[in-house]
Symmetry: none
Subunit: 204 residues, 4 copies
DNA sequence: CATGAATGAGAGTTCATTCAT
DNA sequence: TATGAATGAACTCTCATTCAT
């Protein structure tokens, strides 16, 4: 960001620009996200964009940073609730939440997820991983499972990538011959039982 | 395609161009794949490119079409062998094969997989699905399992997308703190047990 | 200049801006001298810049005007001393003074000299010419030379341009294979003897 | 240069572009020399410019390179003639030649000389220096002067910079109160006698 | 058929200047 | 009067595509 927003309308402009970037990405795709398009969507001149951001990439990075914040807040709430439920319910609700999330904002997050390899997603990935680790920890505390899950990092890596991309593909399906609910249930089943198998048997 | 390659020379040209496209995508990424770059890699003029293809998209479509063919041949062989093995072995070998495949051709297929949403991948997805369905059918025949698996399409959709994208993410990891073998084993475990649970109990 | 600085505050602002312009030119070169850069260097908003100056060019013109003043004062002192010395010493000291001058202020004057053709330098040139004419006049008075030098304007034009640009080139040399002292001595020699040859022989 | 000109019209294009650059620099100054202006002057699209040159700088570099060639040819001829004349005549003719040169091509070379510090002029400077050294060598051979001039590099540096910039300033003078001929004669006088003083007295 | 020169729309970016606050 | 947000013309450069040779 080039300028520290010192006036009230500056902060508004920053938000407007990030918001415009969201809309453009959602509506025109990442490839159609050009500086003119963003400026137009924000109802602002190109110059203004460069007053506040070093360029297109910086703008997208800021959007992702904002996403990190939003996600953190969302997941923090979620993690609390998750701990009180069964593993299966926790998993299912997480999957449904992800699906809802990806549908929100005109599919913005879907488009971002699709293009993960072209974006600075490390921070986002960290937040997600953190969420899963924390959720797991709380879950085990709650359920009095003494030993932590075996190979937790690997299991998390596999499960959240499987979830994310399977849902992504599901949403992209044109001739949706697959019912959304079935896929969610299938994923829930697959992941729950996989995670359960990682739970160490307690000593007797 | 503008002209049917009726002469040997023409077919050679078409192949050369597709092959050049592969190399450029592998080496410079999909975004770096420009028509001049392809023409140069093919040792041919841009004009010739347009003699045989309607443009860049048509060329990439042709490359994917060729990939469909290659994949079909590869998987046909694979399907035969798979039928004789246990489900777990079948799954594991499929995953390993996928990994090898993605590493081959200088990472061409990895780059294609990453950019699936920008490419006409429907035909490729169909072939993969077909393979899994066929493999499943043969497997059940071989193992005398009377009833087909429950919700087979859903299970296949979930498993191959999970596999594909988890491996894709694994290969893209820079600070690879995850051991490849562990992830393959984890995926194998998750998928095998998920599929097994879809097998209908036989009437007694 | 838009407003006559009638208040002390205003005059201070004008000076601050001109001083900031100096620094920016010296540090970033004339091409890198932008209005935002000047405003920032002055610790002032761009708006204020335009309160006191019609624009960038006006600011630079004001800087040159200030330079005219500084130069006048500097040279006035110099002219006094010069009159008491031999022609050779006068010339040498002038050259050395020019060199020192160009090195001062982080090379500001060197950068201005390099870009003379893009700047309103007429006034500066006039002052320099005036100095040389006055110095000459005093010199001849002092040394009881009845007749003025022949073609004085031409000789001055040639000598001060030769000095200025030769020194400028000397300072810009990267692989300085020429010793500064040698060049100063060479110039001194060339100019002194050229000027001497302009001195009219006195009637006897 | 991006492309080796393989077709005849390619070479023509390269020449056209360099020639257009010349005209634009001469007519609009170096600051007004933009890629659109060059393309327009060449009657060509911007794209073509980038087919043959890496950008504006490369184009200007090519122009200077051409200048090096032209200059070399011009000076080679000159050097031959110079050797047969007196030192004074040689100097005078060189100065007049420089003046003519700077006036030619609508003042192109004047504008280039003015902006020497922003251009890659090393090659040009080398050629000039080479010319002076060679001319000197031939001159001394011709006139049977046994010993070479003292401090030749310094004297050349001083004389050609003095000449170049004094003439440059002369040409830029608006209210030309100085007669061109006078300045040329003055320079000739100054330089000739300066060089002569560098000639070593022969042993007797 | 093959060539590669030529095109030009459009992208990213900068900065002198204006003007509402 | 001071501010700095906003502007937009202009610039450099890219690349898919066309078409004369």
């Amino acid at each position: 960001m080039r300028k520290k927003p010192q006036q009230a309308r500056s902060r508004a402009m920053v938000d407007t620009l990030i918001e415009a970037t969201s809309r453009v990405i959602a509506q025109r795709g990442l490839d159609g996200t050009t500086t003119p398009a963003i400026a137009e969507a924000a109802g602002v001149s190109v110059g203004s964009l460069y007053q506040y951001f070093d360029g297109k990439d910086a703008l997208i990075a800021a959007l992702l940073e904002k996403l990190v914040g939003d996600l953190t807040r969302l997941l923090d709430t979620q993690a609390q609730q998750a701990a009180t439920m069964s593993l299966r319910d926790t998993v299912k609700i997480s999957i449904q939440l992800t699906l809802t999330f990806m549908h929100s904002n005109e599919g913005l997050y879907l488009e971002l997820a699709r293009n993960w390899h072209r974006l600075p997603v490390d921070r986002v990935a960290d937040v997600l991983e953190q969420y899963f680790l924390e959720t797991g920890r709380l879950y085990f505390l709650q359920h009095q499972l003494e030993y932590p899950i075996r190979d937790l990092p690997v299991r998390l890596f596999i499960t959240y990538n499987s979830t994310l991309f399977t849902l992504m593909r599901l949403m992209s399906h044109k001739g949706a011959h697959l019912r959304q609910e079935e896929v969610v249930d299938g994923l829930t089943d697959m992941i729950t039982s996989y995670l359960e198998r990682g739970v160490q048997p307690q000593d007797t």
